[in-house]
């Protein structure tokens, strides 16, 4: 990986970076759409690329089940399998073990879970996670971490954090000896739940291993509105490594994270909400299932360059087909991915041009001006020197 910081915001910690991987250059900050099963829902890879997207995510847990490692090895990796010639990132599979599997028992050796094929106990070790990710061949791969729910308290959080550090060492070792370091880049995942002290210990340990990892992910914070953990990580993580906030996808979260110094984020939200009939816009989400769109001949957003809006597809047509025709899901998925890309592209331009604080203010005003600013956003942005409330009369919710 070649990683270069091109520009920094004069006020916040936001930055624009250039990340060159084996499958091309991705400009950061960026949002990564999720192709869980090796396809962005309903689209072809050519369509995704045409939307200006250069980095997507595949899920290791799912690809390991289907099509399986054998198929991926035969075909030469997930890029070739799905016809995606741009950059690809895989998670470690650990999160899905916790969120999807019936029972998962974490031991020092690895995660013990019931095989979804036959119910038999199966072990996912850090070594195996890395080796599966080698078969997938993603440009960025993740260490296996010991995931605990962000609601967990007590000694389990500390245990998981310490174990994640030990597992990182095993992942590094497995990756070092694979001979794939030139093509695939290992990211560490900073854990520690919501406890700042634990997170600091984790940060110390992981920064110590900086020379063996190409980037850092910030885990365990996607659900909550508490961005203190993200700020803490982004503040301390080395500036010459990309920072990836896992599972963040709401536009306001993305921009707050960018302001705190995050470079990458992923989430299924924009594609999933599309299938439920919701279009994302700079004036807030638009539920096209609602009766008020029945006769609206307007496009979702007449300034949007996505193929759905550019073709003049009216809200009325979308209302007629969303959640019924696959074509409705495709139309909104295309639009929502372009919306996410516009939010982040707009951030890149604003940082480059030294007007990122203004960009934040105008985005939040358009997006929340009617309903009120989320308090956590106001607080999080104040922590990096941007006061959303300055000069505007908008309630805080």
């Amino acid at each position: 990986m070649q990683f270069e910081v091109i520009a920094k915001c004069h006020t916040t910690r936001a930055r624009v970076c250039r990340m060159k991987l084996a499958h091309g250059i991705t400009m950061l900050p960026t949002f990564m759409p999720v192709a869980t099963q090796a396809a962005i829902k309903g689209l072809t890879p050519q369509q995704v690329e045409s939307l200006g997207i250069t980095l997507i995510l595949n899920n290791t847990y799912h690809l390991n089940l289907r099509p399986g490692i054998k198929v991926l090895d035969e075909v030469g990796g997930a890029h070739k399998f799905q016809g995606w010639n741009r950059n690809l990132l895989t998670d470690s599979g650990g999160f899905q073990l916790v969120s999807l599997s019936k029972f998962t028992n974490i031991t020092e050796d690895g995660a013990l879970f019931a095989s979804p094929f036959n119910g038999e106990p199966t072990m996912l070790t850090p070594e195996e996670s890395i080796s599966i990710q080698h078969s997938i061949g993603a440009d960025i791969i993740m260490q296996l971490d010991d995931v605990v729910s962000s609601l967990t308290v007590g000694p389990r959080v500390g245990e998981a954090m310490h174990r994640s550090v030990r597992w990182l060492d095993r992942c590094i070792e497995q990756h070092e000896k694979s001979g794939r370091k030139d093509k695939q880049n290992l990211f560490a995942i900073v854990q520690g739940g919501l406890d700042p002290a634990l997170r600091d210990i984790c940060l110390d340990a992981m920064i110590e291993r900086k020379d063996q990892v190409t980037g850092y992910a910030i885990g365990g914070l996607s659900g909550g509105e508490e961005k203190g953990g993200i700020k803490q990580c982004a503040d301390r993580l080395p500036s010459d490594r990309p920072r990836y906030s896992m599972g963040v996808g709401f536009a306001e979260d993305l921009l707050v994270c960018v302001a705190l110094g995050v470079d990458m984020a992923d989430c299924v939200f924009p594609t999933r909400t599309a299938r439920f009939g919701v279009a994302l816009t700079f004036k807030g989400p638009l539920n096209l299932k609602l009766g008020k769109h029945t006769k609206s001949m307007e496009p979702i957003d007449k300034n949007c360059p996505c193929p759905t809006c550019a073709s003049g597809m009216s809200r009325a047509v979308l209302h007629h087909i969303v959640t019924i025709e696959t074509a409705g899901a495709h139309a909104l998925t295309i639009h929502n991915l372009v919306f996410q890309a516009r939010v982040m592209g707009g951030a890149r331009d604003a940082i480059l041009e030294g007007r990122f604080p203004e960009y934040l203010k105008s985005f939040f005003f358009d997006y929340f001006g009617d309903t009120g600013y989320p308090e956590w956003c106001v607080n999080a942005l104040r922590s990096v020197g941007v006061d959303l409330m300055q000069g505007v009369d908008v309630p805080v919710s």
Partner: protein, 566 residues
């Protein structure tokens, strides 16, 4: 609202495109080639002629959308030039929402079709839907939408058609979708109503007379008529006769200047769905044409000894066309196999087919794989078994099959100009890298510069999507599978009809062309399985995946696979 509709009505006179059909060669019954030309008025924003060589196909829409296609796919798809919109799903709102669309070519614009590329026709009902319906009335048709059954009167239909301005409109037809058999009296009523309803749509548009700029008096609505008469040859003859009959008195005044109804008819349509459903036809031994989708299952497939059309269906079509002029396009909806298409071309001379069966095959995970004419050396199936007309990509044997979807066609990536095997130009077999991706910031250009610098001459086609990938997408219930399969299947159908036209127009002597064509049809029937058993197995597999979804799916599937092996 009222104002927009008024404006619409004022425009109408000069806005109808002109549809002409030129029959290059052909007789009353037998294979024929021609071209269907749609010429838009000279003042229209897209001053284009759309030229469709026949035999060809149209693709139907579901709720106004080409199934599984986003708009960019509709525009880039190969082979799609005629799209039929069934209006009934829009009856959920009153007035129907598409009627709010303003501007020229409202139907094209509302649904995002390209008026320089797509002929868009409008029918009230989905021609593939032959479910039981409440009876029609003397001046209304029962149509189906998600909120239930809607009565659509003649006046309604006429106003929808005039407002939407389709390139081609289907006249309402009194096809009974009530429980068969239908009495003689019902049949008589059906043909009388159908003729009267046609006459209603053929009435001149009021404003046309005032429109001094309409230089061409022939720029009238292009109307296709369903050939009524059900399964009775005599009723069908009677209906055709009523089209040719010279009109007098009030009837003549109503459709002035037409002398008979047929003069105002642009083409003849046959909806096989109602015939497929009919008990009268089901009794004839034609398992490949008489099966209804719900009764299909692999256990019911009988070995099929003959593949041609039943004399019955053949006779019905002939009875309708016997007394009608030959130089009008003939459209058949709800064909169900390439075999049926070829026989209808050979024995009747049908010009346009609907692609519904190819789309349905894509719905259930089948990638079509056949070619016409069958090249030499392509005939040997293993153990003298017939070849399947496609691949059921649910089948586990494709899990490691890293080749493109069809054996009969190459992927663009692998194609060379020297190869005899043709290339499948679809989005699955010959994907093309996007030329101008959207930039979201000034620096995005760097992402794309680097790409184009790498390979100095980027290949025209990217590697194809493989059977293994589609197998994976189907089993993981990913919608992308169906998008790619529709793109592919439509192109394979297009290639079939291109093959037909090449043979029929490739010989100076028409009789020779017909003999060669008939020989190739026989060869096709010998090589490919007309029982389409692959579709039936695929449908079962598709259901299995659909019902197995949810937690514990992989376990259930593994169990099932074990059961099958035992």
């Amino acid at each position: 609202m009222a104002q927009t509709q008024l404006e619409g009505a004022q425009r109408i006179g000069s806005r109808f495109p002109k549809l002409t059909f030129i029959l290059d060669r052909g007789k009353q019954f037998g294979p024929r080639v021609g071209r269907l030309c749609l010429t838009r008025p000279s003042d229209s924003p897209s001053n284009h002629v759309i030229d469709i060589r026949t035999p060809n196909f149209l693709i139907g829409t579901s709720r106004g959308a080409v199934p599984h296609f986003s708009r960019d796919h509709v525009h880039s798809a190969k082979g799609i030039s005629w799209i039929n919109v069934s209006f009934e799903s829009f009856l959920e709102q009153t007035p129907p929402v598409p009627t709010y669309q303003t501007g020229s070519q409202p139907l094209h614009n509302f649904l995002g079709f390209d008026s320089s590329k797509h002929i868009v026709s409008l029918s009230l009902r989905d021609p593939l839907d032959a479910r039981e319906m409440p009876p029609n009335g003397n001046s209304h048709v029962s149509a189906s939408c998600m909120r239930g059954v809607r009565k659509v009167t003649l006046a309604d239909w006429r106003s929808y058609v005039l407002t939407m301005q389709p390139d081609i409109a289907f006249a309402l037809s009194d096809t009974p979708f009530t429980v068969a058999p239908h009495s003689q009296k019902r049949l008589t009523k059906s043909i009388e109503r159908s003729a009267a309803w046609l006459a209603d749509l053929l009435r001149p548009v009021e404003n046309m007379m005032d429109d001094s700029f309409s230089e061409s008096t022939s720029a009238a609505l292009n109307v296709f008529v369903h050939m009524a008469g059900g399964t009775s040859t005599s009723a069908r003859r009677a209906f055709s006769h009523s089209l040719m009959e010279t009109l007098y008195g009030l009837e003549a005044d109503a459709v002035k200047p037409l002398l008979c109804l047929d003069e105002g008819v642009a083409g003849y349509a046959f909806d096989l769905a109602a015939l497929h459903n009919s008990e009268l036809l089901a009794q004839t031994p034609t398992p490949n044409t008489a099966g209804t989708p719900t009764s299909l299952s692999s256990s019911m497939i009988e070995p099929l000894s003959f593949l041609s059309l039943t004399p019955t269906l053949d006779e019905l079509l002939r009875a309708s066309l016997d007394s009608l002029p030959i130089a009008k396009p003939r459209l058949v909806t709800d064909v169900r196999s390439p075999h049926e298409i070829l026989c209808l071309i050979r024995d009747i001379g049908v010009d346009v087919f609907d692609a519904g069966w190819a789309v349905k095959a894509a719905d259930i995970g089948v990638a079509l794989d056949f070619i016409f004419p069958v090249p030499s050396g392509h005939d040997s199936g293993p153990n003298h078994c017939k070849r399947d007309i496609g691949h059921n990509l649910y089948d586990a044997k494709y899990a490691h099959d890293f080749v493109s979807l069809s054996d009969a066609f190459l992927a663009g990536h692998n194609g060379t100009s020297s190869s005899k095997t043709p290339v499948c130009p679809c989005a699955a077999c010959s994907p093309v890298a996007p030329t101008s991706p959207i930039y979201h910031s000034k620096v995005d250009v760097q992402s794309h510069q680097a790409q184009s610098d790498d390979g100095t001459s980027r290949e025209q086609f990217l590697p194809p999507f493989t059977r293994a990938y589609l197998h994976h997408l189907l089993h993981t219930h990913e919608m992308s599978a169906h998008t790619l399969l529709v793109a592919h299947n439509v192109v394979i159908l297009d290639a079939l009809l291109t093959g037909v036209r090449t043979i029929l127009s490739g010989h100076a002597d028409q009789n020779e062309a017909e003999v060669i064509f008939a020989r190739e049809v026989t060869r096709f029937e010998e090589v490919y399985d007309g029982a389409m058993s692959v579709l039936h197995t695929a449908r079962d597999n598709w259901k299995d995946v659909k019902y197995a979804r949810g937690k514990g799916r992989l376990l259930r599937e593994a169990q099932k696979e074990k059961d099958v092996r035992l």
